[in-house]
C-alpha cells in the first residue's frame, strides 16, 4: 500500500522538474511560460493531495447527515488563490513576449541576445 | 425494475465507451486531416451522449439526471458546430482534400 499513498507526491516532484527543465532548457519564450505554468500546476497537486481524507466528501455541509467525514477545506482555499496568481503571471508574461516579438522580431531567447549584442 | 435500469445504463456506457475508443483509434490511423477530424468528431457527438445517457439512467429521476440531460443538449449543440468550424477554418486556410486522393493512387 506504500506505493499508492506516495504516488501523488512523486508525480508532483516529476511535474515540478518537467516544468523547471522546460524553463531552463527551451529557448522559445512562450514555451518557457508554458513550462512555468506546468511548474505552478505541480504545486497545486501537492496542496490538494493533502486535503483528501479517506472516505470523506467535498466540504459542503449537508444539514441532515451527521457523522459525515469531510475533506480538509483549507488547502482548497489556498489553491484557489494560487491558480489565479498563476494565470495573472501568465497574462503579464505573454504581454511582455508580444512586445518583445514586435520590437525584436523574434521570440527565441538566443536570437534576442544576438540582436542586443549588436 | 432496478436491474433493468442497471443493465440499460451499463449497455449504454459500454456502447459509448466503444464509440469513444473507435473515434480515438480513427483519429490515430486515418491518413489525412479531414478523415482524422471526421473520426474525432464521431467521438464527440455520439460517444459522449451515450455515456451521459448511461449515467443519467444510473442517477434515476433526480436533479442530477436533469443536469446531465441539459449537458447532453449543450453537447449536442456545440460539438457538431465545433467540428464544422474546424473543418471550415481548415478549408479556408488551404488544406485541400483532393491533394491527398492523388497520393493514394500512386501507392
Amino acid at each position: 500500500m506504500e506505493f499508492f499513498g506516495l504516488y501523488n507526491y512523486w508525480v508532483f516532484a516529476v511535474l515540478l522538474m518537467i516544468g523547471l527543465y522546460t524553463v531552463m532548457s527551451k529557448a522559445n519564450l512562450i514555451k518557457k511560460l508554458i513550462g512555468m505554468s506546468i511548474f505552478q500546476s505541480a504545486v497545486f497537486l501537492l496542496y490538494i493531495t493533502m486535503d483528501k481524507v479517506e472516505g470523506g466528501t467535498a466540504p459542503i455541509l449537508k444539514p441532515g447527515v451527521d457523522g459525515q467525514i469531510y475533506s480538509n477545506p483549507l488547502p482548497q482555499v489556498l489553491i484557489l488563490t494560487a491558480i489565479v496568481v498563476g494565470v495573472a503571471t501568465l497574462a503579464l508574461g505573454l504581454a511582455i513576449v508580444v512586445r518583445i516579438s514586435e520590437s525584436y522580431g523574434t521570440i527565441e531567447e538566443d536570437e534576442v541576445r544576438e540582436i542586443d549584442r549588436e | 425494475m432496478q436491474i433493468a435500469l442497471d443493465i440499460a445504463s451499463w449497455t449504454l456506457l459500454i456502447a459509448g465507451g466503444a464509440f469513444v475508443f473507435t473515434g480515438g483509434l480513427g483519429a490515430l490511423r486515418m491518413p489525412d486531416f479531414y478523415t482524422r477530424m471526421h473520426a474525432a468528431s464521431l467521438t464527440d457527438s455520439l460517444g459522449t451522449i451515450l455515456v451521459l445517457f448511461g449515467i443519467a439512467l444510473q442517477a434515476g429521476v433526480s436533479l442530477a439526471a436533469l443536469k446531465l440531460i441539459t449537458i447532453t443538449l449543450f453537447l449536442l449543440l456545440t460539438s457538431p458546430t465545433a467540428a464544422y468550424a474546424l473543418a471550415n477554418a481548415a478549408r479556408l486556410s488551404g488544406v485541400n482534400p483532393e491533394h491527398v486522393v492523388a497520393t493514394n493512387e500512386q501507392r
Binding site: M1, F4, G5, L6, W10, V14, L15, M17, I18, G19, Y21, M24, S25, K26, A27, I30, K31, I34, G35, S37, I38, F44, L45, I48, T49, M50, K52, V53, E54, G56, A58, P59, I60, L61, K62, P63, I69, S71, N72, P73, P75, Q76, V77, I79, L80, T81, I83, V84, V85, V87, A88, T89, A91, L92, A95, T106 | F74, T78, T81, A85
Partner: protein, 328 residues
C-alpha cells in the same frame, strides 16, 4: 477507489506534460496545455476539491488557453528545434527530483485521517462555519470570511494583471481617453454562418450559468473567480462570433476599466465599512444587527466584487490583444 482513479489520471498527466515539452508546434503545445488543465481539474475533483476543479477548468483551461492563443496570434507559433547542450539543466533537475523524492518518505499517506493537516485548524472551520456563518460551502466561508484578507490580495493580483496588460500592450498611437476603435475588417466569423447562429443561441445561456455560479457560491461549488471566467468566456465567444466592433459597442472599454476599478474597490469598501462599524477590517458580523446575516451580506458583496473585477480584467485583456492585432 480514489487511489485507482488517481493513479490512472496522474500517469496520464505526466504523459501530457512530456507531450507539451516536446511539442515543436506551439499551437499543439497550447492545446495539450488545455488538456493538461482539464486532467488537473478531473484529479482535483477525484480528490474532493470541487471548487478548485471548477476554477482549474474555467480559469486554467479556459482563460489560460485563450491568453496563449492570443499571444500566438501576435507572434510566431513555430519553435526552432535546435541542439543545445542540455546536460546542466538535466543535472540540476535530477538532483532536485531526488531531493524531493527523499522528502516524501516521511509525508502522511494519501487520505490518512491522522495527518497533522486534519488535526489542527481544519476541524475548527468545519465545526464553526454552521454556527458563525451558517452556509453549506465551507470553502467559500473560509475564502470570503475567515481568510478574506487573502482573497482581497488575490483580487488585487488580478487587478494588477489587468493594469499590467493595459500598460504594456496599450498601443501608443491613440490617446488613452478614446476607446480603441477596431478597424473595419474586424467582422469576426461573419462568413461562418453555423458558428454565428449557434454562438448567438448559446451566449445568453453561458452568461446565465455564469451568474448562477456567482450567486450559488455559498451553497455549492462556485464563487467570484469561476463566475468571472465563465461570464467573460461567454462574452468573448460573442466577440469572436459577432466581431470586435459589436462587442465593444456592447461593453465599451471605459466601462470595462470602470468594472475593474469598481470590483476591487467594492471588496475593500466592505472591509472599511466593517471597520467604521467598530469591527476589525473585513469583519462582516458588524455589518448588520444579526451577525450571521451580516456574514451572508458580506460574503455575497465580496464575491460580487471579485466576479466584476475578474470579468472586467479578462475582457480588457482580450480586447487589448484583439486591438493590438489590427495595428500591426
Amino acid at each position: 477507489m480514489v487511489v485507482l482513479f488517481g493513479l490512472f489520471l496522474l500517469t496520464l498527466l505526466v504523459i501530457t506534460a512530456l507531450g507539451i515539452v516536446n511539442a515543436d508546434n506551439l499551437f499543439a503545445a497550447v492545446m495539450l496545455m488545455g488538456i493538461f488543465s482539464l486532467q488537473m481539474a478531473a484529479i482535483f475533483f477525484v480528490l474532493d476539491a470541487a471548487d478548485v476543479a471548477l476554477t482549474e477548468a474555467a480559469v486554467g483551461a479556459g482563460v489560460a488557453t485563450m491568453l496563449l492563443l492570443g499571444a500566438l496570434a501576435l507572434t510566431k507559433d513555430k519553435e526552432k528545434r535546435r541542439r543545445r547542450r542540455r546536460w546542466p539543466a538535466i543535472v540540476i533537475v535530477t538532483v532536485t527530483t531526488l531531493m524531493m523524492i527523499y522528502a516524501t518518505f516521511d509525508m502522511p499517506r494519501l487520505g490518512d485521517p491522522q495527518a497533522p493537516v486534519h488535526q489542527h485548524v481544519a476541524p475548527w472551520y468545519l465545526s464553526e462555519t454552521p454556527k458563525v456563518i451558517d452556509i453549506p460551502n465551507v470553502v467559500t466561508a473560509i475564502l470570503a470570511s475567515f481568510r478574506g484578507y487573502d482573497t482581497l490580495g488575490e483580487v488585487f493580483v488580478i487587478f494588477t494583471a489587468g493594469v499590467g496588460v493595459m500598460f504594456i500592450l496599450a498601443n501608443g498611437s491613440g490617446n488613452g481617453r478614446r476607446t480603441m476603435v477596431p478597424s473595419a475588417d474586424s467582422t469576426g466569423l461573419r462568413h461562418h454562418l453555423v458558428p454565428r447562429v449557434v454562438g448567438r443561441l448559446l451566449v445568453p445561456f453561458i452568461v446565465l450559468f455564469g451568474l448562477y455560479v456567482q450567486f450559488h457560491g455559498e451553497y455549492g461549488p462556485g464563487g467570484g473567480f469561476q463566475a468571472g471566467a465563465l461570464i467573460s468566456a461567454g462574452l468573448i465567444l460573442y466577440a469572436l462570433v459577432e466581431g470586435e466592433k459589436e462587442a465593444l459597442r456592447a461593453i465599451p472599454l471605459s466601462v470595462l476599466v470602470g468594472m475593474i476599478a469598481f470590483g476591487a474597490f467594492l471588496f475593500g469598501a466592505v472591509g472599511v465599512v466593517g471597520m467604521l462599524f467598530g469591527g476589525n477590517f473585513l469583519d462582516y458580523s458588524v455589518l448588520l444587527s444579526n451577525p450571521v446575516a451580516g456574514q451572508h451580506l458580506g460574503i455575497m458583496l465580496v464575491e460580487l466584487g471579485v466576479g466584476i473585477t475578474v470579468t472586467g480584467v479578462l475582457l480588457t485583456i482580450f480586447h487589448t490583444i484583439a486591438a493590438r492585432r489590427k495595428d500591426h
